[in-house]
Symmetry: C2
Subunit: 256 residues, 2 copies
DNA sequence: CGTCCGTTTGATCTGTGTCAATCGCTGTGG
DNA sequence: CCACAGCGATTGACACAGATCAAACGGACG
């Protein structure tokens, strides 16, 4: 096997101050569903606007500065979340330091689709984030009271399954540039659904995050970017702002 | 990129007789939930035993000989299924013939967790199979009538998400032998939950299926098997019947 | 007995990981 | 204001794990 740990976050010397450098999460009172940007995108939409006080009654808010950790792999799961602002990454670390970014979470995404009693991934803020928190128990009773909420959760779980299965194809059978193309197209699509202009992608995460998401190295990701640029499929000056010039070509090369 | 098509099923010359060689599915009347081996494992368990007639009323049965296709990628999704006997594979093909086996479905597994209106994978029988069929519409009304059914579906969707995310780590960051180890322990675990003796795995699928599931070639899968055998982690004479000699070692090498 | 197919094993080739150097931007201190 | 340190991104040279090519083996079936 290749792929050994390098620039990796060192194999977690499980000391006291686990929230490494960056800031720490801050709790706050819930600021109300009325003006929430995520509501139309999130499962909360399954609860009628006239009944949002049922949500607000049990919800809290979490402010998460970029780089901070929301939850650690292995921690007991007691709460579920909806992302209200910003982007997070779902990270898993192997003992030898190899890192996987299992996915990126964006506004409206629900965190809590798991049967496991403990987190299976560490959740880290890529940018400054705001999240809605619900105790799992409250979420369960809300589901009983509003069956539509449970349907909504099921629907969102299904679409997350679809997306995750899509990643399987990327990782198992596509080459580096194809993976990157697929990643960019999918991210652009998610951002477009959130109101961003089509044909552009924001990449707040680092190349290392992308590499660990696509099963590549930083260098290969970088080379793949230049390759896509040279082929005219994408364009960019800022490495975190990509223009998708030839979406059909990108889609085709990712097998879509 | 490497990984080009070779032994692959030829890029689907979308002719009329798409159900290639093997047999074709046969429909039958539902044979009753009472003696169903899958019931305790499947979501059907969410409906009380006294009410199974509600299921039987809308369910049908499908008999699927090994090699036959249940549904094709791209077909409209009109039904959902529960596997009652046998094993299926979930396959996706790229235009150039590269193949992905996104997963294997076993007794009790539910087929129908997707938000898409069309199948995103072809479903093929690895062994002779029997499935319970439900029109999607009937499933929806059953969910309304039995909220526990929807909870059960959500729970199963979550555990499928957990499993799929586990595959991400295998594919993105583990070497061939590690992937194989992870695959074997996970399969053993699923079979154990279904009553099989621990420490053994049945592999009805071919090496090609395993390779396309793990993002490898047949040859590398074979070599990884011999490596695991030489290291004493597994033992076998029949290539389709593996003894897991050192489960802790297997789990460790897969990062579990 | 011979063909077929899946599996295993061996030899070679190549893409991508590894090692290393440079570039560019940001923030800090003199 | 400029010099410098630090970090992320990019580019280049090289090595090796795993893909490719090739052949042999073994069981199933006619």
């Amino acid at each position: 096997m290749h792929i050994k740990a390098r620039t990796r976050t060192s194999p977690d010397t499980a000391g006291p101050a686990r929230h490494s450098a960056a800031g720490t999460p801050k709790r706050a009172a819930h600021s109300g569903c009325a003006g929430c940007l995520a509501r139309p995108l999130a499962v909360c939409a399954s609860i009628p606007a006239t009944e949002t006080q049922a949500l607000e009654a049990v919800a809290g808010e979490v402010l998460l500065p970029a780089g901070a950790t929301l939850a650690h792999e292995g921690d007991a799961r007691r709460e579920v979340y909806t992302v209200t602002r910003g982007m997070l990454r779902r990270v898993r670390l192997l003992p030898d330091g190899r890192r996987l970014v299992a996915g990126f979470l964006m506004v409206g995404d629900f965190i809590g689709f798991s049967g496991a009693p403990h987190y299976r991934h560490t959740l880290e803020a890529v940018t400054d984030c705001v999240l809605c928190v619900f105790p799992m128990q409250s979420m369960r009773s809300l589901c009983q009271r509003y069956p539509d909420l449970e349907s909504g959760l099921l629907a969102q779980a299904c679409s997350e399954l679809d997306a995750t299965r899509g990643s399987l194809m990327l990782l198992a059978r596509l080459g580096p540039s194809e993976r990157l193309a697929g990643f960019l197209v999918e991210l652009a699509e998610r951002q477009r659904r959130r109101g961003a202009p089509a044909g552009q992608v924001d990449l707040p995460m680092t190349r290392a995050d992308i590499a660990d998401h696509l099963g590549l190295t930083i260098e290969t990701v970088s080379r793949s970017f230049t390759k896509l640029r040279q082929s005219g499929a994408v364009a960019f000056t800022d490495p975190h702002r990509i223009d998708l010039v030839d979406v059909p070509a990108l889609r085709a090369s990712a097998g879509l």
